[in-house]
């Protein structure tokens, strides 16, 4: 239920943006979810629906997933994260703290743990739309 905490953060951030932009009602929130965090979409969507405030009661949450792209800082190899190659315990650790990937994942070419998570890390708010 880690997704619940992330959903709370999304609702809180969307509410703060709505207040800052003077939106009376939020109609759409676009969310990007990186595959590295392995978020359970069903749980995230359920949590978002349960946590809606009055200002967000008619909000449509558009959730898009992004593949997790990693680039080795040593040899330059770029590859995509794949959960299937990890055991359950490791996958769960990366789910909670995606940066822990550096403890378990190595560059497939040179074996270095010094890689950059270029995209697809975790949960991001792309946009908040509504009526003023």
């Amino acid at each position: 239920m880690h997704e619940w905490a992330l959903a709370e953060a999304v609702i809180s951030a969307a509410s703060q943006i709505a207040e800052k932009e003077g939106l009376k009602e939020v109609t759409e929130v676009k969310i990007k979810v990186g595959e590295l965090q392995q978020v359970e979409m069903d749980i995230l969507e359920f949590a978002l629906s349960q946590l809606k405030t009055a200002q967000l009661k008619n909000t449509k949450f558009n959730i898009e997933t992004a593949r997790a792209k990693l680039t080795c800082r040593v040899c330059g190899r770029t590859w995509f994260f794949s959960k299937e190659k990890l055991n359950e315990k490791t996958a769960e650790a990366i789910h909670f703290v995606p940066e822990i990937a550096h403890a378990y994942i190595k560059c497939p070419k040179c074996g270095s743990p010094d890689f950059e998570i270029v995209e697809g890390r975790g949960v991001w708010l792309e946009s908040v739309k509504g009526v003023t």
């Binding site: 905490a5 709370e8 951030a13 703290v97 940066e99 550096h102």
Partner: protein, 240 residues
């Protein structure tokens, strides 16, 4: 694109009365030991206490406190387990025995993640064991937490104190409250550090003598609490 996590951190920390970051200008001054024993001493006085090891690349408080075979509970986020009377949180739950080589941006991201998903509940004190120096974790913590105060650990060495002066200068410049400075591993009668701390207008919290036997207490909390080290830390509790 907005990172939603930072907006929930204040909410996550709102049940905590006092947040104390135990910090140092450089490594090897006994900061983690001070943080761990301070947390134990506060808990001994019936305060509700959390201990958060923020030294992501070199966590050690779990070793000092002999913490193993525990994991946080998943409950609409993560709830730190209660160990030795402390709500204990560390990245070591996830990194296990593996090295976690994190660059600055990764440290920031991991810090924000843990601050945004950890449910501390109500606490009298949250003690944070900081990584040494004035890097990303320190700057992020100051940026993201409102009521944080710093307890600084130095040794008698001028090398250590030189870095402490920089830390004090930074914190004062950012208007972050400093509880005071502890002089650890003291091996002589010199009052040089005390005088310099006081000349900077910062409280001097006390001295902890170098204790060759402290190593024998690592991992054994009951033994740790019987050391001269713990006795000196206990004396400082009233000053924080």
């Amino acid at each position: 694109m907005v990172d939603p996590r930072t907006s929930i951190i204040t909410e996550r920390l709102k049940g905590i009365r006092k947040i104390i970051a135990v910090s140092s200008g450089k490594g090897g001054v006994g900061k983690s030991l001070v943080a761990s024993v301070l947390a134990l001493e506060l808990a001994k006085k019936s305060h509700s206490v959390g201990l958060f090891d923020l030294d992501f690349t070199s966590p050690s408080t779990h070793v000092i406190l002999g913490i193993k075979n525990v994991q946080p509970k998943e409950e609409k986020g993560i709830v730190p387990p209660l160990v030795h009377g402390l709500k204990y949180m560390s990245i070591v739950y996830y990194s296990d025995e593996y090295a976690s080589p994190l660059r600055g941006a990764d440290v920031s991201n991991a810090l924000i993640e843990l601050l945004s998903i950890t449910r501390w509940g109500k606490l009298d004190y949250l003690i944070i064991d900081m990584p040494p120096g004035i890097g990303d974790a320190l700057l992020d913590l100051i940026r993201l937490t409102k009521n944080i105060r710093f307890l600084i650990v130095s040794t008698s060495s001028l090398l250590a104190f030189e870095t402490v002066k920089k830390l004090i200068s930074l914190l004062e410049g950012l208007r972050v409250p400093i509880i005071g400075v502890v002089e650890n591993m003291k091996m002589n009668d010199s009052k040089a550090v005390q005088q310099q701390v006081q000349s900077l207008g910062v409280a001097f919290l006390g001295e902890i003598p170098f204790d060759i036997k402290i190593e024998e207490s690592v991992g054994k909390t009951s033994k740790l609490l019987k050391t001269v080290f713990a006795e000196k830390v206990e004396e400082m509790v009233s000053k924080i």
